[in-house]
């Protein structure tokens, strides 16, 4: 991930999200002197944000690879030269996850909130209204003792409903 270290993560971590996290740090740390690091870092981060928001395209991957190469070779100091490593290594080893984000608009780890949806299984829902009470966005509606529904346009993907539900009726995918 740029530091020469090895990081062990399980399947609940999304590699695109992790790359975004590291890049966010290096963009913040960039001094701004040389163009590849100053501009390239921000552009890379914006591409990753775009992909994790489900708006990525396959062309973005090619553009990101060009930026990574330029940052690695033309940055002045070690920070800029290694800032793109998280993206380079995740692109190299986890291209399938990037492609899932881009083509299927899916995040298998469920970390990219824009790509997941919370749903209530009507068969399991007992209509206890706890989820509706917990929902900070007021996205859940339903009569008492009747199955509830989530208004996806209002949902902020906070996961509060899933944590609250005692019957396992709410899940995300």
């Amino acid at each position: 991930m740029g530091s020469g270290g090895l990081i062990v993560m399980d399947e609940t971590d999304c590699v695109v999200d992790i790359a975004k996290f590291y890049l966010d740090f290096t963009v913040d740390e960039s001094c701004g002197k040389c163009a590849p690091c100053r501009i390239g870092g921000r552009k890379l981060l914006n591409y990753l944000k775009k992909i994790t928001a489900g708006r990525g395209t396959e062309q973005d991957i090619a553009d990101m690879q060009a930026i990574c190469d330029a940052m690695n070779k033309a940055s002045l100091c070690g920070l800029g030269q290694t800032a793109s490593n998280p993206v380079r290594s995740t692109l190299r080893y986890f291209m399938d996850e990037y492609m899932e984000h881009i083509r299927d608009k899916k995040c298998r780890a469920g970390k990219c909130s824009r790509l997941i949806q919370y749903k209530i299984d009507a068969a399991k829902c007992r209509g206890c209204t706890m989820c509706a009470k917990k929902c900070p966005a007021g996205a859940i509606s339903g009569e008492l003792k009747q199955p509830h529904v989530i208004d996806q346009s209002k949902c902020v993907k906070c996961g509060a409903c899933e944590a609250t539900c005692k019957f396992g009726a709410i899940s995300h995918a």
């Binding site: 963009v27 163009a35 921000r42 552009k43 033309a74």
Partner: protein, 623 residues
């Protein structure tokens, strides 16, 4: 000489050359964007990257040279013996192109409305790389345009953060007005401490705009004001052109550099609609008479000496801001521009029966600082109203001539108008470094001796573009020491100040221009060559003949002996100007410890105190 290989071609370059020079020797041009030959390489853009071939570490390769995975910046890498360099391969070109596309993605790219369109280095390099489409999304951070000074406009939106402006302002001009503020992607080029340019120590010399590769810093365009005056039937439009302009206009029309186009400029100005065309050389002559007389008065009757003179308002501004102790040494004569404008709004209307209020004076000048000079204080309104109405730089004039559809090259040579258009050769040499000094001294010589023509005095010693030149002129047995400072960087200024201050070899006159080279295209000249490093030592060399009247005490400044011995009892310690931090000036009292230190190593260049204190001879020689 250093021998190395560039793209397989053996070349040798002088020691200390960078890889750009080595590539040139091999007839290869490495593209650059932030690099400028005048300045220390900033290494910020990442366009000039090259690859070095290094011996393989793999024993199987048997010491074969293989491409190094990392790239070097050619601008700041010194050529070393036996180096093998590859300047162009598909990978390097792709890296350069990507970096360029990234820079372009954060640039407004509104080339059609840009003042630098056609002379923009970013535009040129984008064309060289054949960039038609940019894959990266456009993100331009908007900043306010700074139009607080009448001379220079800052547009940070267009800035590519090459660092040239800050470098030239700080290191070459020693003004420290411009600075990069913020870090990372929030870096912005701005006056130090984030103030407006007018509130900064800026002296409006225009060197930042002369070195800006893009349209982020440019001269304030005032052609609209002149067009409006020309179209006003009530106004009597007078115009004056400065000595330095006559060469530079020709260049703007693609004529040979150095082509004198005085007559054509007069003709073009008449065709633009100016009623009378005058020449600043007339008032340059007036200035010389005035300064020569003032010098004689001070010399014979005793007055503040040495006499300091320059027609450059940027210099005056610099001295007022950074060396206020010397304001008493200034010549009290105005600059030729202001003299002619004052005459054009008082003497000329009187002689021609014109209402002075209807007179509109435009002056064509080579420098952005002249725009600032016309309204700097109340003395610039000697005629009762502002003497000079508008100052146009050479390039603004060239734009007006083009806009009016005048075929400049085929214009006939016309004379200037009478009364304020005649001049001697003395005025013409105002345009060269040391010219003012030479002209004034010749005049002083004639006034003192009563001879019509000075005999063959060698004024050559003070001509040219070296840092500080000194000479001794013998006027009928009286020796006059003179010094000409050209583009005083910290070192040169320290030397001149030191000699002025010490009293040994005190220059009687110090003439100085802020520009580093011959006048150019109106934003100040575009200097051609990097200052050689050995100049630092060279300025130490001149020894001036003993002067006749002993050391000249300078008010408010301790003499060297006084500093060594400590101050006299009861005398207040003289203020020293320290440079504390970037862009900030502090007036503090020197500590006794400083005065007693024999070898103040900390005053060497590069330390925060270095610039404005007067060091001992030993320390400056080392510096």
């Amino acid at each position: 000489m250093i021998s190395l290989e560039v793209n397989g071609v053996a070349v040798s370059v002088p020691k200390g050359s960078n890889l750009l020079a080595a590539a040139r020797a091999a007839n290869v041009k490495i593209p650059t964007l932030c690099y400028h030959p005048d300045l220390k390489p900033g290494a910020s853009c990442g366009i000039c990257v090259v690859r070095q071939l290094v011996p393989s570490r793999n024993p199987a390769d048997n010491g074969k040279f293989v491409p190094s995975p990392k790239l070097l910046r050619a601008c700041c890498t010194e050529a070393t013996p036996g180096m093998k360099i590859i300047t162009h391969d598909p990978d390097i070109v792709q890296v350069r192109k990507t970096v360029l596309e990234l820079i372009l993605a954060n640039h407004p790219n509104d080339c059609l409305q840009c003042p630098r369109s056609g002379s923009c280095e970013l535009q040129a390099i984008a064309a060289d790389f054949g960039i038609r489409e940019n894959p990266f999304p456009k993100e331009v951070v908007h900043h306010d345009v700074d139009k607080s000074t009448p001379s220079i406009v800052l547009n940070p939106d267009k800035c590519i953060k090459c660092g040239r402006c800050a470098e030239v302002c700080q290191e070459m001009q020693n003004v420290w007005a411009l600075e990069f503020i913020g870090r990372g992607e929030k870096t912005v080029m701005a006056p130090a401490a984030g103030v407006k340019l007018a509130d900064s120590p800026c002296i409006k010399c225009g060197q930042c705009s002369a070195h800006c590769p893009v349209g982020a810093i440019y001269e304030n365009d005032e052609t609209a004001k002149v067009w409006a005056a020309l179209q006003d039937p009530e106004k009597v439009c007078l115009v004056q052109i400065a000595p330095a302009v006559r060469v530079a206009v020709g260049e703007a029309f693609g004529m040979k550099p150095g082509a004198l186009t005085t007559g054509k400029i007069y003709a073009a100005l008449r065709r633009l609609g100016f009623d009378k065309v005058f020449d600043t050389n007339f008032s340059a002559d007036v200035t010389i008479m005035e300064e020569g007389t003032e010098f004689i008065k001070r010399f014979t009757e005793g007055g503040e000496l040495p006499l300091l003179t320059s027609c450059c308002p940027a210099w005056t501004d610099w001295m007022e801001k950074y060396a206020p102790d010397f304001t008493g040494n200034f010549s009290t004569a105005k600059s030729p521009q202001q003299m002619l404008s004052a005459l054009a709004k008082s003497y000329w209307p009187e002689k021609n029966g014109v209402d002075p209020k209807k007179v509109h004076v435009t002056s064509i000048m080579p420098c952005t600082a002249k725009k600032y000079e016309i309204s700097r204080d109340e003395y610039m309104s000697a005629s009762g109203q502002q003497d000079t109405d508008v100052v146009l730089t050479t390039r603004e004039l060239a734009r007006m001539i083009k806009a009016a559809g005048i075929d400049f090259e085929s214009l006939p040579e016309e004379p200037a108008d009478k009364l304020l258009g005649a001049y001697t050769g003395a005025g013409t040499i105002f345009g060269v470094t040391g010219g003012v000094m030479e002209a004034a001294l010749r005049t002083a010589y004639c006034l003192i001796t009563g001879d019509a023509q000075p005999p063959s005095i060698d004024f050559q010693a003070v001509r040219g573009m070296d840092g500080v030149k000194t000479a001794t002129i013998d006027i009928k047995g009286t020796k006059v020491n003179i010094a000409v400072a050209h583009q005083m960087g910290p070192q040169e200024r320290r030397q001149a100040a030191l000699r002025l201050h010490r009293g040994d070899g005190v220059p009687r006159r110090l003439h100085r221009r802020r520009w580093p080279a011959l006048p150019g295209d109106g934003r100040g000249p575009r200097p051609a060559h990097r200052r050689p490093l050995h100049r630092r030592r060279k300025v130490d060399a001149p020894h001036v003949a003993p002067q006749p009247r002993g050391p000249v005490p300078l008010q408010g400044l301790p003499r060297r002996q006084d500093r060594r011995a400590g101050r006299q009892e009861g005398a207040p310690p003289p203020p020293h100007r320290l440079q504390a931090g970037r862009g900030l000036q502090l007036l503090v009292r020197p500590r006794v410890a400083y005065a007693q230190r024999r070898r103040p190593r900390r005053f060497r260049r590069g330390r925060s105190f270095a610039c404005c204190l007067l060091p001992t001879a030993a320390s400056s020689r080392r510096g």
